[in-house]
Symmetry: C2
């Protein structure tokens, strides 16, 4: 059976959930998917680095906060570049963090891996939104894949729905509810809770971060709109090309007024092809008719609608965040890598 | 470039819409998809048969009701079996009709084609619901594909979402709104229109047939539940295994009562894995909480939710019927056939 050796870059919630999946049901997945997964390297800013060419025993690392120093092959030094470039492996699973201004450090991680001829799957928006086209070219030059399903709605398949299941259709626009935190807060405003209190609740529930700006001001959605516009509509948008307005000025009274008119306020990210082939992209609160496919997406749920010529709107909804959900996005990327690159060999050996 | 020669079985709305797509944008599709399509045979009970080994000029056939007798290669006799078995072609696009009791005549069409070593795409529920497993086995024996995305929600990708994009997940259940006619009628009941009047409206709009029984009594959804249960959950259900209750006894008063309790009546088809591995499958009106992902699916729209272990519910919504929408399902099947069978050759020649 085909086996892929993985390097996990970042060992926070997402890559630990992926490690948990591999440790807990690797055999079952292998039987279903036709390939086995083995982790041969981990690099994490806090835990350090761990390299074992014969495979890391993952289970002991999943209880409590791991520290790799002292383990065989371990070091307190994350040695990120050396791990990515130097350790022989097939796939780099990148799940660190990203600066929305320049996509770093995730961008460098992805570049190093592709330059080293390794497939990459990442859950980071930054590299995809800001440098997706260049990274795709780099991957092609090195004969490897660059997969990033988790950069939009965690494990809910959005990019792959557009690329694979809607092939042959003309997609003229994309719109979505792509931030669960702001969507949860809007729901609470509908319940009559005022904005500051709703933000506090979202923080208490773990939906919102200590600084909720990226979520409530629309900057998180802005990057996702860039990804959808560039990957699905073929646009080459930069951040300035996507106008952004957040939800911070909406009040319970606005919600009541909208409801009285059969409308519901949602933070909508959208990108639409104009007649001249350019793309209009924006993030803004929109009062949607309650019958609109996105109007009923509630709480932390997310959804994306594709506007197509032959089918009209096709909408995919599901979770937009979560450790396990995002880890599944990485697994789905690995499945895509397998399907693309292993078919030839499997056919020859099968 | 790879080219697929097609035989169209049935030349009603769906296959004519497919012919229109091929005639109108075949070159564009070829550039995007990497393969060309050519129709070499058509068989239709009314129009007769038309066989041209060098390709049929489709455009003249798309104006008005075609009659093939008198055309070069044409005959008033549909010669269905001879066309399917005898005319050299790569893919048979089956879009005739189906008897829900035994799946005929579509079932025989599919069998003949698979036995002749031809790939099959069909939009007919009957063969898939009643004999999906046997047909898949037959296809495997002959090294060809049996594709049937259009048998559930026309062109909205449901089977392929489950099989391809949710691979690796444990899917424990499926539920959906899979009949636009009954969903439209429920919407009209909500507007206060009584049942017989709502049916008449649906008939006038072309949503409901002269005999609306299959739609409003749930028998159409029953076949779709069988397809989802068998194809997605691996069940081997027969028709008797899916209990059926329709919407004919619901009234505008029921709708008002539900709304007052934050509920909305929907005709839900569902299949769920039980602890012992068997599958509970049913069609019945269900009063869903308005926040339920299926509660807001309105009018002729359809949707299917997959219940998964790692992502929770993932829902796909879009059209559930329509000539062009169903023709796209056939195109999406052809794309799937291409992806599965041409990758090896393309890799070698690419």
């Amino acid at each position: 059976m085909t086996r892929y050796d993985l390097a996990l870059i970042g060992f926070g919630g997402v890559n630990r959930a992926l490690a948990q999946l591999i440790a807990g049901r690797g055999d079952e997945l292998a039987a279903e998917l036709g390939f086995a997964l083995r982790v041969v390297a981990i690099s994490d800013l806090r835990a350090g680095s761990l390299v074992r060419a014969d495979g890391i025993d993952l289970a002991p690392l999943l209880a409590g906060e791991p520290a790799f120093a002292g383990l065989p092959g371990g070091s307190a030094d994350p040695r990120t570049e050396q791990v990515i470039r130097g350790v022989p492996c097939d796939i780099v699973a990148e799940a660190t963090f990203t600066n929305p201004a320049d996509g770093e450090p995730a961008l460098s991680h992805v570049r190093w891996a592709l330059e080293a001829g390794k497939h990459v799957c990442t859950t980071n928006k930054g590299p995809v939104a800001l440098h997706g086209r260049a990274l795709r070219r780099l991957a092609a030059e090195h004969g490897v894949s660059f997969e990033c399903e988790g950069s939009v709605l965690s494990g809910t398949p959005v990019l792959r729905t557009a690329r694979r299941l809607l092939a042959g259709l003309r997609i003229s626009g994309v719109e979505g509810i792509m931030n669960g935190t702001s969507n949860y807060i809007l729901g609470r405003l509908e319940d009559g809770v005022d904005f500051p209190e709703a933000v506090k609740e979202a923080q208490a529930l773990g939906y919102a971060e200590a600084d909720p700006t990226a979520d409530v001001e629309g900057f998180d959605v802005q990057l996702k709109v860039m990804i959808l516009a560039n990957e699905v509509l073929g646009a080459g948008l930069r951040r300035d090309d996507v106008s952004v307005r957040g939800i911070a000025r909406l009040t319970p009274a606005d919600m009541r007024d909208a409801a009285a008119r059969g409308l519901r306020w949602k933070l909508v990210g959208s990108a639409a092809l104009r007649e001249d082939g350019t793309v209009d992209a924006r993030v803004a609160p929109v009062a949607l008719p309650v019958e609109h496919p996105l109007a009923s997406v509630s709480g932390p749920a997310n959804a994306v609608s594709f506007h197509t010529d032959l089918l009209g709107a096709v909408t995919v909804s599901g979770p937009g965040a979560g450790r396990v959900e995002t880890a599944y996005a990485l697994l789905s990327d690995i499945i895509a890598i397998h399907q693309r690159h292993a078919v030839l060999e499997e056919s020859l050996h099968g």
